[in-house]
């Protein structure tokens, strides 16, 4: 008891005279560290902070050099409620299928209700885009509708024809897309979408296991929306008696950024 008293008297003296550069090797090492005594002791690098036992110090002099000018960190304040502002799952959904009228409310949506509220809008938008190109081609829009896409074959087997036996209708496609989530497989390599050998068998088709930085998600989206049963329905080709079809299954660009294979994977800012 007597010894303790003496020690506290000495410590008080230290504090009072700002003589606080107490060496690790001196007698004070024997003092039990306390993080609430208003004294820099033990391994603390500021008063009641730092070292091996106390909360980290905040920059007082910035140096944590033991001169006592560092302060205890005020724990960050994370209190309060936070309301959703923006939302994103799959790439390109808002891009291609949303229009001005519902872009803002769409961002306020949650995946479990998007299909219910927006699938019909997406479907109308998809058909509307086909109508735009019917007009440009001088065709009757009633004749230029969405055609089932290559997912019909991939999802249901290579022997089926996406046009007839396994139609992925505009309604079905937009219902799938309206569940706007990015699917990420924990135990498989990541492929956004790879049609494999292509029409008509699509052997080796894989995908829907996530999205890498290199995936051409816009081209994939365009193929599903405008590619029809063979993936190349609107591909800039000449069609006898009709004219030149628009090029809608690729935007013509490849990646220009420089992602890497090491964390954090994204290239340095330009």
């Amino acid at each position: 008891m007597k010894i303790h008293t003496l020690k506290y008297m000495f410590l008080s003296l230290c504090a009072a005279t700002m003589f606080v550069a107490c060496d690790d090797d001196d007698a004070l090492e024997m003092v039990e560290t306390t993080c609430t005594d208003g004294i820099m002791n033990g391994t603390e690098t500021g008063v009641d902070c730092g070292g091996t036992s106390c909360q980290p110090c905040e920059d007082g002099g910035g140096d944590a050099d033991g001169d006592g000018d560092d302060m205890m960190v005020t724990p960050p304040d994370f209190s309060g409620t936070y309301a959703q502002v923006d939302f994103m799952g799959r790439p390109g959904i808002n891009t291609v299928l949303s229009i001005d009228d519902f872009k803002d409310p769409y961002n306020q949506a949650v995946p479990s209700t998007i299909a219910e509220f927006y699938q019909k809008d997406f479907e109308n938008r998809l058909e509307g885009l086909h109508d735009v190109y019917a007009e440009l081609l001088g065709l009757d829009p009633d004749d230029v509708n969405y055609q089932p896409n290559i997912l019909g074959d991939i999802l249901n087997g290579p022997d089926k024809d996406g046009f007839t036996d396994n139609p992925v209708s505009a309604e079905l496609l937009t219902t799938i897309l309206a569940n706007d989530v990015l699917e990420v497989a924990p135990d498989l390599p990541t492929t956004y979408f790879n049609p494999g050998t292509g029409a008509p068998d699509y052997e080796g088709a894989i995908g829907l296991t996530g999205r890498t930085l290199q995936d051409d998600v816009i081209d994939v989206s365009l193929i599903l929306l405008f590619g029809g049963g063979d993936g190349a329905r609107f591909n800039g080709q000449e069609v006898e008696g009709v004219g030149t079809f628009p090029r809608l299954v690729s935007d013509g660009v490849a990646i220009t950024a420089n992602p890497t294979d090491t964390f954090p994977y994204l290239g340095a800012p330009e």
Binding site: P76, D100, K103, N107, V110, S112, L208, R211, G252, E270
Partner: protein, 226 residues
Amino acid sequence: MKKTKLLFGIGILAVVGAVLVAADHIDAPGTTGNTADIADFYGFESPSNPANTVFIVDLQTDVLPDLAYGPFDEDVLTEINIDTNDDLIEDLVIQAIPRKDTMYFFGPVVPAETGKMSEVMVGSPLGQVAISGESALTTTTEDGISLFAGPRQDAFFFDFGQFNKVIGGTAPEGFLPEGEAVDTFDGANTMALVIEIPNSILGETTAKNALGLTVYKTWVTTNRKQ
């Protein structure tokens, strides 16, 4: 026929506002250019460790001249939502929120509530990392979780200018061929959050994709302090 004309009209109208509203990247009038604007979201198997999953969230972008990127906003909570039972409701969240020069991460944890309102799950700290400048500052926690927060290249690529013409009905040729098309996002930067996490920490999932493969169903939200 009437319906057709109406939809065509929508296409023409769209071109007027298209520069501002046409992408997830530069999406809606309410978020375009503000600090809560989500530019992009990626999720993939780690190239260096197949037992890890990487999530990247890009906030803001300077793809257009009047769109600045950064800094992170202390009033904006970014949340990676993970559905593990296929009901499209988040079962786990990973959260990121900045304070001063540090990005704090929380989770993966069952959120206090699902849906549009969130609170920071302070009882489930995941780690923290100093917010980077030009050079990447990263940290790896004792649990093997790598973290990054700061400005990076915007990796997205898209001929956005031609897309506006396409949806506007003014491009009879559609998109431009390779060589003529232009990546509008070439040279753009974004504020990125990157987390690489062992699947063992994310836990099991029973959700399936359309091919019957086991997946996490994920999406990202930004949430502003009320």
